[in-house]
Symmetry: C2
Subunit: 406 residues, 2 copies
């Protein structure tokens, strides 16, 4: 039940009904391919005549295509329909602290090529570097005409309207334009988004079928702890595109020093650095204090997991403690937003088997309702490149989303 904003609405024209039904048909093909016209008509409780006409539109437009005829027990065989994704390409870019990843993928999120290089901290230098690399990548795969855009994921705050990066502490960026500069360089439209929101988009649009609902939170744990929120099938961006900053919800205002200046933030208990610091018995070291940070003397969270698996009890303890605190925070999120499930991404999911019981115990401590206590927590499968898939979704999703109306 949405309220109509009388200062910003879209009225229906004589083609609105068709636009709506066209999108529904497209999504039905996407979710049930291979599928026949007659089957779509049944699923929509609509005449087959209308489906014929809509499908013709979509074929002319090039978004779907006819495949081989299927098989039927009796009667005429159906002609199967598919969404055209294989030759509609996207360049996905994930800018991270140490390295930048560039992936060429199709609309379904299938990886075609992947490369990475050291991140240049100067934004201008990075854009120049990226531009030439993307050009080379597209040419190498003869993908110039088939690429529909670039999706760009950054570890920081993005201003939605202008595409500027307002603050990216890990990169030392402050109010920097990357989107428009890159768009100009590669001659393709560029969509930009922060990492947790991109991960949520990836889960919503490219998640495994059946595993995705339209009411979930995607928690990302790495250098920072953030979340992408999806409610009613919509990514929640907030008023200034900064929704989902759960990382600095306090667990204990007398707790460990957080890099944000406050004490006892969720992030100060659960970020990769926090876990490493707990293991090393050190305080967290501010990242953007000036010098380039060298987290935990070269020890990474993956190293820590390896040590734990090799039998280092103190490593295990540090990791399991993080799991417990993750659960406590997730319990709070469950209370606040009552999602149907919570996805968990980040390097720590490599130790999911170790932390799962602690995570669930943490949720039990905090979740108020019986339904909330049962909320499933699903770890990201390793090697899934959620941020890169999110970058792909940034470009592909608008072609499949419900038309805006009223």
């Amino acid at each position: 039940m949405r309220k109509i904003d009388t200062r910003d609405f879209r009225r229906a024209t004589r083609t609105t009904s068709r636009e709506i039904n066209r999108r529904i048909v497209l999504n039905l093909v996407r979710d049930h391919q291979p599928v026949s016209r007659a089957d779509i008509a049944r699923r929509m409780s609509i005449g087959r005549g209308v489906v014929t006409s809509i499908i013709q539109d979509l074929i002319d437009e090039g978004t779907i295509y006819e495949g081989a005829t299927g098989h039927a027990a009796r009667g005429r065989r159906p002609t199967m329909l598919y969404v055209r994704t294989q030759d509609r390409l996207v360049v996905a870019v994930d800018i991270r602290f140490s390295r930048t990843f560039v992936m060429l993928s199709d609309f379904a999120g299938t990886q075609i090529a992947l490369e990475s290089f050291e991140t240049a901290f100067d934004p201008h230098a990075l854009v120049v570097d990226l531009t030439s690399r993307i050009r080379r990548l597209l040419d190498a795969h003869g993908a110039r005409g088939r690429c529909e855009g670039v999706g760009l994921v950054v570890p920081g705050m993005v201003e939605r309207l202008t595409g500027r990066v307002l603050l990216a502490p890990q990169l030392g960026w402050r109010d920097v334009d990357v989107r428009d500069a890159l768009a100009k360089g590669v001659g393709l439209p560029v969509q930009i988004e922060n990492a947790p929101m991109a991960c949520a988009l990836a889960q919503m649009w490219l998640g495994q079928r059946g595993n995705t609902t339209d009411n979930f939170v995607y928690v990302t744990v790495s250098d920072g702890v953030g979340a992408g929120i999806v409610l009613n099938g919509q990514l929640i961006r907030g008023e200034t595109n900064s929704a989902g900053e759960f990382g600095h919800i306090p667990l204990d205002t007398n707790g460990p020093q957080c890099l944000c200046g406050a004490r006892g933030c969720w992030e100060a208990y659960t970020s990769n650095q926090a876990t490493l610091s707990r293991y090393l018995g050190r305080e967290l070291v501010p990242l953007w204090g000036g010098a380039v940070p060298h987290p935990a003397g070269g020890l990474t969270i993956e190293d820590l997991i390896s040590r734990a698996r090799a039998g280092d009890a103190r490593a295990s303890e540090a990791i399991v403690a993080t799991g417990h605190y993750l659960g406590v925070g997730i319990g709070g999120i469950v209370n606040a937003l009552n999602p149907s499930q919570v996805f968990l991404g980040g390097e720590i999911t490599g130790a999911w088997d170790m932390i799962q019981p602690a995570v669930r115990a943490g949720i039990l401590e905090r979740a108020l309702t019986p339904a909330g206590r049962k909320t499933p927590v699903v770890p990201e499968q390793m090697g899934g490149f959620p941020r890169l898939r999110g970058a792909t979704a940034l470009v592909a999703a608008p072609h499949f989303a419900a038309p805006r109306v009223a």
Copy 2:
């Protein structure tokens, strides 16, 4: 950008365009009345002919009516249009710990009659009592045929589908049917919702024009602390209608004992009982321990505010401390959801002038972004009966909401 749920969608029929435009016209009349057909046509960038036809529909249906002709500098005078709200009535019911309030109001939320009586704790007895009182109220105002429904607000968890109250600790209710029993009794449709969500609905649908956005959080502070969340013009209910339970987000896991069993919940710092306990130097006493609770020996939060105004420094301190903790929690909400504003309801807003600086200071401590730090906090004006207005909105809003499509 919403994803279409292919298991649950609404396709467009040949009347969908009309339904959409009809709702837009209705809302334009609502927001700009008195308004002429020609003016609506301009605001919608549509031909006047279409408006004529849609307006005729709405007049026939009885949702709007023609008033006197307006004035124009030149040319034919416009006939002004108004939404029919005066003789479309709603019975709003607010069930609270000690008393139950019943209000007869029109669709615009205007109060016609208001009465209250002591809450019977037995659900069945309360329903019987309510039924006869509502019948009497309707008869006394000759409102039988003009009443379109009953809105019921309860202090507890409501199961959306069945209308059952799953848990209302203050009333001692657990899995109780009130909606259907009351509907049967009064012969009218009954809508039920929990208090914070109803307050948010009231703000969204019946808030002062210009003061309301479609991206806000309504925080209610009374015996418990909860919130109603509105994002993208939609009330966020969550998967099992329990979204908005921010009351048990921890501020400090070693903090004061909360009634929920955990320690240091936001509620344990900011509820009316918490404020009173801080003043009295006592621990919180569990409400649903068995015996009927007698909060703080008869001292109420209103009393405390009076004492503070009369110069009781310890009362002031207790209240200002609550304000500070409220700000800290609101800062967390601002980080999590990035609303454009936060509304604050509850008895404590009677001391808004005293707590405002502390609230803002609390937000400053926690809010991460410059935009977030500026998020306005708006106190409920006293005597506004937000819960009762929310009950009205429960019945009235569906007539004005955007049609569900795709």
